[in-house]
């Protein structure tokens, strides 16, 4: 399988919308044709070739090499193939994507996986705020697919999430799973304040109890939930998350947010006292 490679020539003065470079949009185009795609750089349009050294043939896989955090909307709305980012990515990575895979070796900015409907997002570094969140003004965020973060996420991870799965190996900022409608989010590190605020349904699985939960969450007691075995079995290809299986199935279950229905659950794994 050949690859189309875009290497950023020099640091950027402005943010760039990278959504024209998805496998289906560049399919069948030679490198020199891809180099003539017009991009907005501030208030003027430039050829992609001016900003990137472009090599290879357009195929199923696109590789973006950049240290810049200004490449926004990489893989936005993509519906197949794969994108590998060697370095960092900007905001709205994989925004609205339907299928395919995006892998980023570095850190990503705001709203990665925002409004995502399917496909896989794998981040080796850290994610910014609103991971898997909603487009501005929308009431529902991520609607399908999976996001796996090896590092940490910012505030509002899983905000307004509707369906799908988010796995975070590191820590989360404040307001994790806020306004969550449904779906599953797992955090192995520490969550910040106001976790689960305005959560309507959905499951947030934690291995460390947050310092506090909103007062609108009620303790639902300890439960032995066998589905956790099934869930963690699904992570066997993800070494960072294999440890979840070691935690056992005993969880402290909190229900909330009572201010908006109270059907959401926060499951906090606890040492097996038996």
């Amino acid at each position: 399988m050949s690859t189309l490679t875009l290497r950023l020539r020099s640091p950027l003065s402005q943010r760039i919308d990278m959504s024209p470079f998805t496998p289906e949009l560049v399919a069948g185009r030679q490198a020199d044709e891809v180099a003539r795609i017009l991009l907005w750089l501030g208030n003027r349009q430039v050829d992609a070739g001016e900003l990137f050294a472009i090599n290879g043939n357009s195929t199923e896989q696109i590789v973006i090499q950049s240290d810049s955090d200004r490449l926004d909307r990489i893989g936005a709305d993509m519906s197949g193939g794969s994108i590998r980012v060697e370095g960092n990515a900007g905001a709205y990575l994989g925004c609205g994507m339907r299928d395919g895979a995006i892998h980023v070796s570095g850190d990503v900015g705001l709203a990665a996986g925002c409004a995502m409907r399917g496909g896989r997002l794998a981040l080796d570094g850290n994610a910014g705020d609103f991971l898997g969140g909603a487009l501005p003004g929308e009431r529902q965020g991520m609607r399908g697919g999976s996001i796996v973060v090896k590092g940490s996420a910012g505030d509002r991870a899983g905000d307004s999430m509707r369906r799908g799965m988010i796995l975070i190996a590191g820590d989360c900022g404040d307001y994790s799973a806020s306004r969550m409608v449904a779906g599953t989010m797992v955090v192995l590190g520490q969550c910040g304040a106001h976790t689960g605020t305005a959560m309507r349904r959905g499951s947030l699985i934690l291995t460390n109890a947050p310092k506090s939960l909103p007062v609108t969450f009620n303790d639902n007691g300890r439960h032995n939930l066998n589905f956790l075995t099934l869930l963690s079995r699904g992570f066997k290809d993800l070494p960072a998350f294999a440890s979840l299986a070691d935690k056992g199935n005993l969880v402290q279950r909190w229900l909330g947010d009572l201010s908006c229905g109270g059907k959401g659950e926060i499951l906090i794994t606890t040492p097996d006292l038996a």
Binding site: N43, L135, P136, G137, E138, R139
Partner: protein
């Protein structure tokens, strides 16, 4: 600069010119008589085979004011899904149902419109409305101030104030808000909603003030008549959207007591209760009433299938409809206790019985009202559909077979419940020119536009002759705004700014004392800061004022 438009086919109903081939001359911003032989024509446009009309006028389109901005904010997907990048001459914008100011101005001009009127300027929001309209490029604008749900007027009427006092208050409102007309929305009903009332028919007493919508309409229409304001009272009648509301509509016409009255988006007010679903067309009854009463004019508020957003001051009706919101989000709010506002996004579906019948009712009204001088082409943008559907609507009116084809596609029960299929009428270009140019200018008292006689403002639209009226009206060949060539082949060629159209009837300034006391006691700002001056319009808000004369002579 002298321009000659040579050999076009001219449709100028105000001057009884029906498709005659002739020349027009434009000097600077005015149409002028043919110059002498010794004068140099600087530019000649050869328009053989082209259609020439005055610039179109939309007398009812929600393009400014608080509620449109709420709709824009509420529907980010409408902006995101319809992005308009900046061009060489134009700035960026977007939106389909609730377009940004820039997108609205450009698109209106690209369709040959040169003047548009915002029908719901809340006095307390007038500044905001004028700012938005000033930011809408290409077109001249104007607004109708909303009265009839404000506590001051209701209190005055309840206290039995003399007509003269109401007249002074109306005239003061026009001056303070820089408006060209007065609109009443669900007379008394928006106010009654705040007293927990969920319906208020024409002869129902307001729960607090004990006055009826009939009295409000009567007082206000008389006030405008006695003040010699050209545009009659612009009425959004009671019971919008409620099956059986045609009776309220007929009663509202009566309430004007023979004085001029304009009933707006009457399609939403022409529903009966016949049939299995207790929802039927009463277009025939309404059209007959309009045909019979020369004091009544209407605009239709045609609906078109697809996504739009309904924005209205009628909190009562919007609250009743909120369950139909699509996408499911909506708002209703009170604004400064003067009136209300409701924003409910909506998708009209052609397979839905009610929506399909609404579509047919609008077209029935167009086709059954005989006098094109008293029926205006509107979709109540964006309530029935965005204004960008006007060319499609014109085709529906001009092309019977096209209309019947579409009738075959809508909900079959609705199609068979409607008389539309039996209506033979096809509008002519002359009649389209009446209802989109000459008649709106006449009913608004705009003597300087809507026609092509010497002395008129050089707002001119030139169309290619085309089999398909939709194509023809969507992409004019040339549009002149005040003598400037602003659109070529349906694309902006020169961005310009319009002015704000107002009328200034005289009033006894003593009324300001009474209003001042009211402001002092109840209002959020002082009277002194309320009114908008001409200087503020020109320098702060950014749109100069054009004052149009009132009718002459006392009635």
């Amino acid at each position: 600069m002298l321009i000659k438009l040579e050999g076009g086919r001219i449709y100028d109903p105000a001057n009884n010119i029906n498709g005659e081939i002739g020349d027009l001359y434009v000097r600077d911003n005015e149409i002028v008589a043919a110059p002498g032989d010794n004068e140099t024509v600087h530019r000649t446009y050869a328009l053989a085979g082209k259609i020439v009309m005055a610039g179109a006028i939309d007398l009812h389109t929600h393009i400014g004011g608080g509620k449109v901005n709420i709709a824009r904010t509420m529907l980010p997907e409408d902006q995101r899904g319809n992005v308009m990048a900046k061009g060489g001459l134009t700035r960026s914008g977007g939106g389909h149902a609730a377009p940004s100011t820039l997108a609205a101005g450009y698109r209106y001009a690209e369709m040959g419109y040169t003047s548009c009127f915002e029908p719901a300027v809340l006095p307390a929001n007038a500044r905001q409305a004028h700012m938005e309209m000033a930011d809408t490029p290409m077109i001249d604008t104007g607004g109708y101030a909303m009265l009839g749900n404000d506590d001051l007027l209701l209190q005055l009427i309840a206290d039995g104030a003399e007509q003269q006092t109401v007249n002074d208050y109306v005239a003061w409102t026009l001056q303070a808000t820089q408006c060209i007309g007065i609109k009443v929305v669900n007379p008394g009903g928006i106010n009654a909603f705040k007293f927990n009332q969920r319906a208020l028919d024409v002869d129902d007493a307001h729960p607090h003030y004990r006055i009826t919508p009939r009295e409000i309409v009567s007082k206000l229409s008389r006030a405008l008549y006695e003040l010699n304001v050209p545009h009659p009272l612009h009425v959004h009648a009671s019971n919008l959207g409620v099956p059986g509301n045609y009776l309220s509509t007929l009663a509202t016409m009566e309430a004007a007591e023979g004085l001029p009255i304009h009933l707006t988006h009457i399609q939403f007010h022409s529903y009966g209760t016949e049939g299995d679903r207790k929802f039927s067309s009463s277009a025939a009854v309404i059209a007959e009433a309009v045909n019979r009463q020369a004091n009544v004019s209407i605009d239709v508020g045609q609906i078109m299938f697809g996504q739009t957003v309904t924005v209205s001051g009628d909190t009562m009706a919007q609250h009743a409809n909120h369950n139909h919101a699509h996408p499911h989000k909506w708002t209703c709010m009170d604004i400064e206790c003067e009136a209300g506002c409701g924003v409910v996004p909506f998708r009209y579906r052609d397979k839905n019985f009610v929506n399909a019948l609404q579509w047919a009712i609008g077209l029935e009204l167009f086709l059954m009202v005989d006098d094109p001088w008293r029926v205006f082409l509107t979709t109540d943008h964006p309530n029935g559909a965005p204004f960008t559907s006007y060319p499609h609507l014109i085709r529906l009116l001009m092309d019977r077979s096209f209309r019947n084809d579409l009738l075959g596609e809508i909900n079959p029960d609705a199609a068979s419940a409607s008389h539309l299929g039996s209506l033979q009428r096809e509008y002519s270009l002359y009649e389209i020119a009446i209802m989109t140019r000459a008649a709106p200018a006449r009913i608004l008292g705009l003597t300087d536009r809507g026609h092509l006689a010497p002395g008129a403002l050089a707002d001119i639209t030139v169309y290619h002759q085309h089999e398909d009226p939709e194509q023809m009206f969507a992409n004019p060949m040339l549009v002149f705004k005040a003598g400037d060539l602003v659109v070529e082949e349906g694309r902006i060629s020169k961005p310009v700014k319009g002015t704000t159209q107002v009328v200034r009837p005289e009033y006894d300034p003593a009324i300001e004392k009474e209003i001042g006391r009211w402001f002092e006691r109840y209002h959020s700002i002082s009277l002194h800061n309320f009114g908008i001056s001409d200087d503020e319009m020109a320098e702060g808000i950014g749109s100069r004022v054009t004052v149009h004369p009132c009718r002459e002579g006392r009635p």
